[in-house]
Symmetry: C2
DNA sequence: GTCTATATCTCGATAGAC
DNA sequence: GTCTATCGAGATATAGAC
């Protein structure tokens, strides 16, 4: 994985082990011993590099947030039509989740505890940027309403719907794969279709409609 | 709250305190002392009734999951049109989440650990029943495709989209309320609109469409 | 059944050798 | 930088009086 940081080899091993352990068990549930085992070193070394469990968690969280909120928000072009913006949003979001499937759990863990760390990170990193993904989504949406491309609707509601539709496949996968036979085996195909499906439903749910039913 | 169990008054106090504490902090993060304080008794009494923290957590989790599956698994009427089924599904699902907002976090915690408990409960409670909510959703969907009410589409993809759209509002609320000014204050109104929004997007995303764009 | 007091244990953190 | 050994805090769990 590209941590984009000048970590030593050992640091990186610890870091990755921690990411996995924290994702699986949360901050409280994670065990330093388990992280050490995963990384193939001893607890003492973790403290040597990261000083404390709190700091280690902080480091992992900061990394995750950078990936999640900043990478996703940068270099994105608002499409000429809302259709392009929407498609772009879905693809980027699913790409991100696919590349780092532990990520939603990591985030949701924090949320489950009232999102103490996450809220701070959002305020610090996401809100100050004008070109972040949610912001672009909303402004592109409003432009499209004005131009008549889509109907009058609430952009925030739509944003939540799209994010939920994307993330739930990953977050709910273990459950879904019990309910839906063959899902595990055909995950890749299903996920590819998922992008089209979400776009299709949402976009045509927004466009001016035929008079029927 | 209706625990539907023949608990003594003290047991019930402990149980409810535990439900709250576990919801807030997870299994590991929860503190027996805190549960005792919430319940207005001492730690020793918790052990008297529930033997160990593990067993207490088990009891709470089993209760939460039972509620979840009982609610989504029974008493649902397939509507005459898919529109009715969809509307019904959304309303029930959001009702359930609203009544028990800690539920997604409980579930997500289990999922993050590979859904050991949840998978078992699904196999045990949901799959054997023919009239469960997902099943009815899919069969109503297919009937509607056949009758021409909606277009050809994948019912499973649609089901995931709807569930994700419903649940993400609750699961993501702490984050969303940071990004979206005023969300916390207007939660009730926003949630009411949410039902209409999801129905509108999804249903008209599925119906035969005007030729435009 | 409920409490106080205490035993036991788990786990993060540190000391110190190499 | 990395290890082994150990400490000490804090949490779960138990004993025993009432």
């Amino acid at each position: 994985m590209d941590t984009e940081t000048p970590y030593s080899e050992t640091e990186e091993k610890i870091f990755l082990a921690a990411l996995e352990e924290f994702s699986l068990h949360g901050k409280q549930g994670a065990r330093m011993q388990q992280i050490a085992d995963r990384a193939g070193i001893t607890k003492a070394l973790i403290h040597y590099y990261f000083r404390s469990k709190d700091r280690l968690y902080e480091a992992v969280f900061a990394f995750v947030v950078r990936r999640y909120f900043i990478n996703i928000g940068e270099n994105i072009q608002p499409g000429e039509h809302f259709a392009d913006t929407l498609r772009n949003f879905i693809d980027r979001y699913i790409d991100l989740l696919e590349k780092q499937p532990a990520l939603p759990f990591f985030i949701l863990r924090d949320i489950a505890e009232g999102a103490p760390v996450l809220s701070a990170k959002i305020r610090e990193h996401l809100l100050p940027r004008k070109r972040n993904l949610p912001f672009l989504f909303v402004s592109s949406f409003e432009a499209a309403v004005a131009s008549g491309e889509i109907r009058q609707h609430d952009p925030i509601q739509t944003l939540i719907t799209v994010m939920g539709a994307c993330i739930y496949f990953f977050a709910g996968f273990p459950v879904l794969s019990v309910i839906i036979p063959g899902l595990k085996r055909e995950r890749a195909r299903f996920l590819a279709e998922r992008r089209d499906h979400i776009f299709d439903i949402v976009y045509y749910g927004l466009t001016p409609r035929a008079e029927n039913r």
